[in-house]
């Protein structure tokens, strides 16, 4: 299995952290992110002076070089000025985009990007035997996804288990 380079969006990072599967992500991806995304993830630390786990872990991964901060040369302006730098970075480098935000999805897809979210990552981890069925279900439940998405992901997970169990 060849690791892929990926541009990390704040939404994906937050969900894999709260889902408890963050430590598996580096087995699959080399992580890169932009200063704007880093600022979004660090918001609790920088603005609220609150030691949130997602921000503290992010900082430690940046310090150890597990996450590399790189900015795109030309930011896209699909929604607002300066936004979607994670998409711009993925587009410029032809990297994966790790993002749980559904709204810019079609634009990212039409730009030819490979977009992956946290729920499907949890399903893959279960399929690859990295986590149990129960852990995968729990991880999906703990994310900030909508009830509909969680329900669909859990239904697929259950179907997968049935196929695996024969």
């Amino acid at each position: 299995m060849v690791k892929q380079s990926a541009s990390l969006d704040a939404s994906f990072w937050i969900n894999i952290c709260v889902g408890g599967v963050v430590n598996f992500v580096t087995d699959y991806f080399d992580l890169f992110t932009t200063n704007i995304v880093a600022k979004e993830i660090r918001y609790p630390l920088d603005v609220l002076k609150m030691k949130s786990q997602t921000a503290v872990l992010f900082d430690s991964w940046v310090q150890t070089g597990t996450i590399v901060i790189q900015d795109p040369i030309e930011p896209v302006n699909w929604f607002q000025d300066g936004e979607n730098t994670a998409i711009a970075l993925a587009k410029e480098r032809n990297w994966f985009l790790l993002m749980d935000d559904a709204n810019p999805y079609h634009r990212a897809k039409s730009a030819g990007l490979k977009v992956v979210g946290s729920s499907e990552f949890c399903v893959l981890l279960y399929d690859h035997g990295r986590i149990t069925y129960d852990s995968a279900g729990k991880a999906i439940q703990q994310t900030h996804a909508s009830k509909r998405l969680k329900r669909n992901a859990l239904v697929l997970l259950e179907e997968l288990k049935r196929h695996k169990d024969g």
Binding site: Y43, L48, Q80, D101, L149
Partner: protein
């Protein structure tokens, strides 16, 4: 506008509302004016958040921009969307496409391929 740069606004309350305000003021140990100011600021923030959430639901903003406009963290904004169970039309399609992309890139079991409808 006074010397502190604050603008004076006057409001009218009925007796019930006035009594409640008095009670809160005593309970919190703050002047009635300070309590009213606090409530107005919180109300404006809440209204702004609701407006931005509605814009997100309509697909007009992404999470980053939504959080910025609402003046909250992306984490907080995602939690508020989850609390209100805001879902978008594309999310299930995004999930299925994402899973197929992962399988094509990193491989998947026959069971997963079968689940995804690969022949």
């Amino acid at each position: 506008m006074n010397s502190s740069g604050l603008i004076t606004k006057s409001i009218r309350l009925n007796p019930d509302e006035n009594d409640r305000l008095k009670q809160i003021s005593e309970l919190e140990g703050l002047s009635e004016a300070a309590i009213i100011r606090q409530f107005v600021i919180q109300g404006i923030a809440r209204h702004r958040l609701e407006q931005v959430i509605a814009a997100y639901e309509r697909g007009e903003v992404d999470l980053s921009a939504g959080a910025t406009y609402a003046g909250v963290s992306v984490y907080h904004f995602m939690s508020e969307l989850e609390k209100r169970d805001i879902s978008t039309a594309t999310e299930t399609e995004r999930f299925m496409d994402g899973l197929k992309t992962l399988v094509e890139t990193f491989g998947g079991s026959d069971a997963l391929r079968q689940t995804l409808g690969y022949s």
